[in-house]
Amino acid sequence: MATSDIQVAEHALQHHFADMEQQRETSTFGMWMFLLTEIMFFGGLFCVYLVYRAAYYTAFVEGSQKMNIWLGATNTAVLICSSLTMALGVRAAQMAKPKLMIALLLITILFGLGFLGIKGIEYHEHWVNHEFPGPNFHFVTGDPEHPATDAQHTEIYFSLYWAMTGLHALHMIIGVGLVLWIVLAGMRGAFTPHYYNPVENVGLYWHFVDLVWIYLFPLLYLISKKHGG
């Protein structure tokens, strides 16, 4: 069994690398570099958020009241669980347990789809309440005790909500696709303890997407004490 593991690894060694260790370190460094670009990509949106939250705080408070804090918190929990199963899946690949790896990664996919499903429910809710920016945008607090004091600028809050969570959801969809690719490759026996960097790298991507949500959740949902649930 040991021989075939190394054979799999040798087959996967690309010609311009001296050895597997160089290939592994290089490809992981490459993924981290890519994640750096993703940080700057999302970072632009966070900068826009920062500027407008400072300028229109009341509008941001009012807009965030319309977020469903329980769905958001559940989604946060779902993503954290998916990160656990992803990390354990990478570990299973390191420990030469391909079947366990595949099972854990499939559960990760399920968590990911669960996240997207809950997000879809939220999006639907916001859509029918005219909370999508554009000509049909119409903000009403729905709470007679707290009429809107800055309804006009809530359109900016919602623009940011849709842009930031939408971009995040797109990255989730890509992530699910990547994990599926790893599952399929794993079913063909592509990974061994000597060659599992694709699994590790997809794991890094997945954790990064989780990390972005860890910031999005408080910034969009928990801006201020919720009045009226």
Partner: protein, 109 residues
Amino acid sequence: MENNQQHDESVVGHIAPASMYVSIWAVLMAFTAITVFAATIELHVFNIVVALLIATIKGTLVVLFFMHLRYSPKLTMVTVVASIFFLFILFGLTMTDYLSRGWLTSAGH
């Protein structure tokens, strides 16, 4: 079979025990509950401080342990720190404009 593969760390990489991942998971879940709870208390300007602090603790745990930064070469850490540094340049220098716009009280601006 498992012996000579598992402990060849230069090739296989560091393998952490499963219990470590589960512990980190538990801490992350706990902090999620704490941050939701903290949002129900009126702390005025400290709401955002607490929320970001908790998010940063959670993020640090994810990066260090789930993403294996703790066991990675120093260059990886440099990459992470560099990205945070330049992000703060973007935020900070942009805000020098927005925060100081109201300072001139003469007819100038």
